[in-house]
Symmetry: C2
Subunit: 242 residues, 2 copies
DNA sequence: TATCGATCAAGTGTCGACACAAGTGGACCC
DNA sequence: GGGTCCACTTGTGTCGACACTTGATCGATA
């Protein structure tokens, strides 16, 4: 779809906003106040502008967006359902926090589901799909060479989206999108640590090869292992900053 | 928790409302307008009072609940995030429909995740947990003898909740709760078909045995197969009424 | 008679206002 | 000087109102 519409395929840097509104299922009604507020908050959480525990009272936010509290409240509810925000009755909403135990839980599930995506994607990928993934891979490689963590990160996120589309299981994709949102912060920061960027890219290359060979078992295994490696990097990062 | 508080353990029939508000994570703020409206709609969908495609415009609902449209809209958003309601920008919300392809997708994921729950639960169950599950099993047996589909059904739902608690993975539980909500209607009606009730109970017995034996591999396999059987029954039902 | 456009009721998205609850700070007491 | 109670401020949950959009109805036109 995207390669047909307009863009000259490359060099257009990724727009986090676009990816986030995709993950939040807000691509239609992108102009509505609710969507703008939700995406702004989600992006803030993902890029680390809004830290866990940060107060998200609706009055302040309404002021910031020159809107009433109604759309703010709806945006916060939406983000709560995605696990990014904690809302307790009659208390002020806060940016959700992720204790390492919760991170482990998320990755325990995420790992299995991504393996499933790999399995299905390897079975169902067309040659065009593989070619498209190849483009993304090349782009990630350029980002790694340039040491551009942001570019790599969002391209990685986009690639996962494509993988999910290829796997053709909407529910599976929705669940993974939801889990992805909660882990974006951690994944983003952990990518900047040491050799993590290059290691992650190596995993991507292997996964692409398995998919191109239509080896579903291998693809599942590689995705599972790559996810585990991502978790390990995140946990190491958390422990060290503790 | 529940056996300590008040109830005389048995004979108190299950309250669908309670189970549904648990699945919707509305157990606190149960008195708020949003929660009441959301639970009422969800229950309507689950017991078949509100059919797929049914118009859920906020004006009518607000009238029905003597409330303004604000809490109605929030309730509808909540239900949308659980997949029970479809909301398109500037269109009236509708009860979501589940084409058989979507049902297959849900069960494809649900099956793997329930296997995971079985695996974890078998590893982590205490003797008290097994005893509690035994109580539930006995209760289900009475329901089967009496041919009380409703009682069996809600006890089954409750039992799954306990299993998830034993498995001790909050994210996993949340995802399964969300998937459960979408499939409650189908599961409920399919239980009334032919020998489905007795077959389902037999599966429950085997699963309990595996858990009691702390055989995680077997528990995972049995849960996977029982889930597949449930799907088959549902698909057969859908095809036949088509 | 069928097609198209104007007209109009119905519904959505957003707003500002209100009562009540929660948090905050100071006055008061020991 | 440290702890407790009470007023005041801040924020939540809900309300009724408004402009704009959508879809439906009905008449005009070919």
């Amino acid at each position: 779809m995207s390669e047909v519409t307009a863009e000259p395929v490359s060099d257009v840097p990724y727009d986090p906003t676009g990816e986030i509104s995709r993950l939040l299922k807000l691509e239609d009604r992108r102009e509505s106040a609710v969507a703008q507020i939700a995406v702004w908050i989600a992006e803030g959480i993902v890029v680390g502008r809004l830290h866990p525990g940060r107060d998200l009272n609706s009055v302040e936010l309404a002021g910031r967006f020159n809107s009433s509290r109604t759309p703010v409240r709806e945006a916060l509810m939406l983000l709560e359902s995605e696990g990014l925000v904690e809302i307790k009755a009659r208390k002020r909403p806060r940016v959700a926090s992720f204790p390492s135990e919760r991170v482990r839980e998320i990755y325990f599930v995420r790992r299995r589901l991504l393996a499933l995506v790999g399995e299905l994607a390897a079975q169902r990928a067309t040659d065009d799909d593989i070619a498209l993934l190849g483009d993304r891979l090349a782009r990630m490689e350029r980002a790694v060479e340039a040491g551009d963590v942001d570019e790599y990160f969002w391209c990685h996120v986009d690639t996962q989206g494509h993988l999910q589309r290829i796997a053709s299981n909407q529910i599976l994709a929705d669940i993974l999108d939801s889990l992805a949102l909660r882990t974006l912060v951690l994944r983003h920061t952990s990518l900047g640590q040491g050799e993590r960027l290059r290691e992650s890219f190596k995993d991507q290359v292997r996964i692409h090869e398995a998919l191109a060979a239509r080896d579903s078992e291998l693809a599942a295994m590689l995705l599972s292992r790559a996810t585990q490696a991502a978790l390990d990097a995140i946990l190491e990062m958390i422990e060290s900053t503790l």
